[in-house]
């Protein structure tokens, strides 16, 4: 790995290790690919679920976004990061989860994982989070090294948090932008200096939960929502990009009930939300008329607020 600077490889034993309630295994892949609506394949990196004995070097790429981590409030969790070999360094930071420093997955306050490390933490608050790599983060998160992290209340999925609203249908929309020029850089790009242009993101693709928001996300299973009148929809909206976003719910009005893994003191009624990088909003919808509602996410320039691009999906109410 030649010229990497300011990285801190280690694979210590997990301090005060206990038997967990639930374990997730994650292995790195750096040869993934996402096919865009214009036919281009863009390289992505991420985590595969290696829990089924299918671990190793991930020669077949992997899913984008990375597989969700879903736990229940109160559970002690082990997230095992397997990063074998000496090829590259990565971490897992459970964004919004607040564990000890050793388990926070930030390279320069603890270590970058070379080998295997088991992150140990206990899910204290139900809500929407995400996990992502925190090594040369500017590049690694842009390359797609993230996945959803959902903490359900102790009673399990179906309720946002204990005492909070219940839901019948759930959507997880992780909205991200790609600058395809960044996607050919090496894992340690410019860590020793030099200008890799990492201060200047010029996105050319706009994505909802791994799917091109130009066309595909309008109908992609797992992104587009189909529900019946009388049902309750929970949208877990994650700003997984770097630029500010504005999400409009296609004329539907919802209730924001929690954000960043914490209930709001009182729900707030919205038809659109402005967000910045890594914010999460949990929005409840009870549509009372059938129809097709086109949800639009605008990606906004951080300087002049101009719309850099848009991703779209649909809520179809039968």
């Amino acid at each position: 790995m030649g010229g990497a600077c300011y990285v801190y490889p280690d694979s210590p034993a997990t301090p005060d290790r206990v038997t967990p309630d639930v374990t997730f295994e994650r292995t790195i892949y750096m040869n993934g690919s996402v096919r865009m609506d214009d036919g281009r394949n863009i390289t992505v990196w991420g985590f595969t679920d290696s829990g089924g004995g299918m671990g190793g070097m991930g020669g077949m790429g992997g899913p984008f976004p990375s597989p969700a981590i879903r736990v229940r409030e109160g559970q002690i969790v082990h997230t095992v990061l397997n990063n074998p070999g000496m090829m590259w360094l990565h971490t897992i930071h459970h964004h919004g989860i607040e564990p000890s420093t050793m388990n926070d997955g930030v390279g320069h306050t603890s270590f970058d994982v070379q080998g295997t490390y088991t992150y140990q933490w206990r899910a204290a608050h139900a809500g929407t989070y995400f996990y992502h790599c925190h090594t040369n983060t500017v590049l690694h998160a842009e390359m797609g090294m993230y996945g959803a992290l959902i903490v359900d209340p102790p009673e399990g999925p179906g309720r946002v948090f204990s005492g909070g609203p219940s839901y019948d249908v759930e959507a997880i929309w992780a909205c991200d932008e790609f600058d395809s020029r960044w996607h050919n850089l090496p894992w340690d790009a410019a860590t020793c200096g030099g200008d890799a242009g990492l201060n200047d993101l010029n996105p050319d693709y706009f994505i909802i939960t791994g799917v091109d928001g130009n066309r595909s996300a309008l109908t992609a299973p797992g992104v587009a929502v189909t529900m019946n009148r009388g049902q309750t929809l929970l949208v877990r909206y994650i700003n997984a990009g770097y630029y500010p976003q504005r999400i409009r719910f296609g004329g539907l009005t919802g209730q924001v009930v929690s954000s960043d893994g914490r209930p709001l003191p009182a729900p707030v009624t919205v038809s659109e939300i402005n967000s910045v990088s890594a914010e999460r909003y949990d929005v409840i919808f009870n549509p009372d008329s059938s129809g097709v509602y086109t949800v639009e996410i605008e990606y906004l320039d951080w300087i002049d607020g101009s719309v850099l691009g848009m991703a779209r999906t649909r809520i179809t109410v039968n």
């Binding site: 600077c5 842009e142 200096g193 200008d195 990492l198 993101l201 990088s277 951080w302």
Partner: protein, 392 residues
């Protein structure tokens, strides 16, 4: 178009929409590309003493911990720390003198960039200015000596406007400290250029006879810091230094909190609190459980930012000077550009998801999550706008 107000949809019952729009700057969006690299010095020679780690000589975690201990020691001596404040029963008269000065500051990649500042001495370059703290009802007299050849001013929106202070002249402005809160003082001449290139600072107005509130009746805190963010496009600084109006599109290459960037373990000046925002006592949050820390956050720069804290969720108390209708607990809080501001409290609660529980001996990062800001000169991850949070 200026960046739209955040969350107007969510919070407009308590948000005075025109306040911020009024202060947003309409700037040129010409896309003429000025060759930024033209003004760069030799990059290869410039990287200040980074440790070129190759396989086998990586810095190990143990070494890091050693470094961090040194850094902590450095941070508690010399520079003072949290803003100190003792409340008074009566109003007072506060006199403050600033010298408008300029000079070069070497960035993390070794490039020198020109700044101007409201300095405390005629020979200094206090970018940003030393922050001020007064009390509601105080009379504040500020004398400004403009040591430069160019015209400047001293403005606090809603409180004072010096008008033009020509080069080589001095002026004194007086104002009554109004509503409690966090304010940016800045130079309105040639807006936004003089503000961007360093002429700004923070003024805290405490409620009358209170040492622990942002405004009367607000949630309380035990200690407080000013965080002033700025985004640096050296091509713009160079143009402004030469008296030209920047014509290139604004492309920031350095990202500052209180005038400097962070530097990771193993870098030169890692332990120097005057050069490393991780250990800058004006920026680093350090405390024990219960040491609720108020952060008065002001954005002197042109970019909207996403602030992200590790270790604890924050209480988001005000936005652009207005108490929020609801206080939310967030791990990410938006900071609008062009003088956007928030007051937030880092509560120093035990990190909720630690197992087994921890209450001390932890350190976390605060960093901007628009990760372009975590770089310097287009690379050098971790040399950006970030600081440390220490659970003592």
């Amino acid at each position: 178009m200026p960046y739209d107000s955040f969350m107007t949809n969510l919070l407009n019952n308590n948000y005075h929409n025109d306040y911020h729009n009024k202060n947003n700057i309409h700037f040129s969006t010409t896309t003429t590309c000025l060759p930024i690299l033209q003004i760069m010095l030799s990059l290869s020679a410039a990287i200040d003493g980074r440790s070129k780690t190759t396989k086998g000589v990586y810095m190990q975690r143990r070494d890091f911990l050693k470094f961090s201990t040194l850094g902590l020691a450095g941070s508690v001596t010399g520079l003072g720390t949290f803003l100190s404040w003792s409340p008074r029963a009566n109003a007072a008269t506060i006199d403050q003198t600033f010298y408008i000065t300029d000079g070069m500051r070497t960035q993390a990649d070794g490039i020198d960039v020109w700044f101007q500042a409201y300095s405390s001495t005629s020979t200094g370059l206090d970018y940003p200015a030393q922050s001020m703290i007064v009390q509601e009802g105080d009379t504040v007299n500020i004398t400004i000596h403009n040591t430069l050849g160019t015209t400047h001013s001293f403005v606090i929106d809603g409180l004072v406007d010096s008008g033009d202070i020509p080069g080589g002249t001095s002026t004194t402005v007086s104002f009554l400290a109004g509503s409690a809160g966090s304010y940016l003082f800045y130079d309105r001449v040639n807006l936004p250029y003089n503000r961007l290139t360093g002429l700004h600072g923070g003024l805290a107005i405490m409620p009358k006879n209170s040492s622990n509130e942002i405004y009367a009746g607000s949630p309380t805190f035990k200690q407080q810091l000013f965080w002033l963010y700025n985004d640096i496009d050296p091509a713009w600084h160079d143009a402004i230094r030469q008296g030209r109006t920047p014509t290139s599109k604004f492309k920031p290459r350095y990202f500052h909190i209180n005038g400097i960037s962070a530097r990771p373990p193993g870098s030169t000046n890692y332990t120097d609190p005057t050069k490393n925002a991780f250990y800058d006592p004006r920026s680093q949050i350090s405390g024990k459980i219960g040491d609720r820390t108020l952060l008065r956050v002001l954005n002197a720069g042109m970019c909207v930012h996403s602030m992200h804290w590790h270790g604890n969720h924050l209480e988001w108390i005000t936005r652009n000077g207005q108490p929020r209708a609801q206080i939310w607990k967030k791990d990410v809080i938006a900071l609008e550009n062009n003088m956007g501001k928030v007051d937030v409290i880092y509560p120093f609660e035990p990190p909720p998801d630690a197992w087994p529980p921890v209450t001390s001996g932890q350190q976390y990062v605060m960093h901007l999550h628009d990760e372009m800001t975590q770089t310097a000169g287009g690379g050098l991850y971790q040399f950006g706008a970030a600081t440390l949070i220490k659970f003592k």
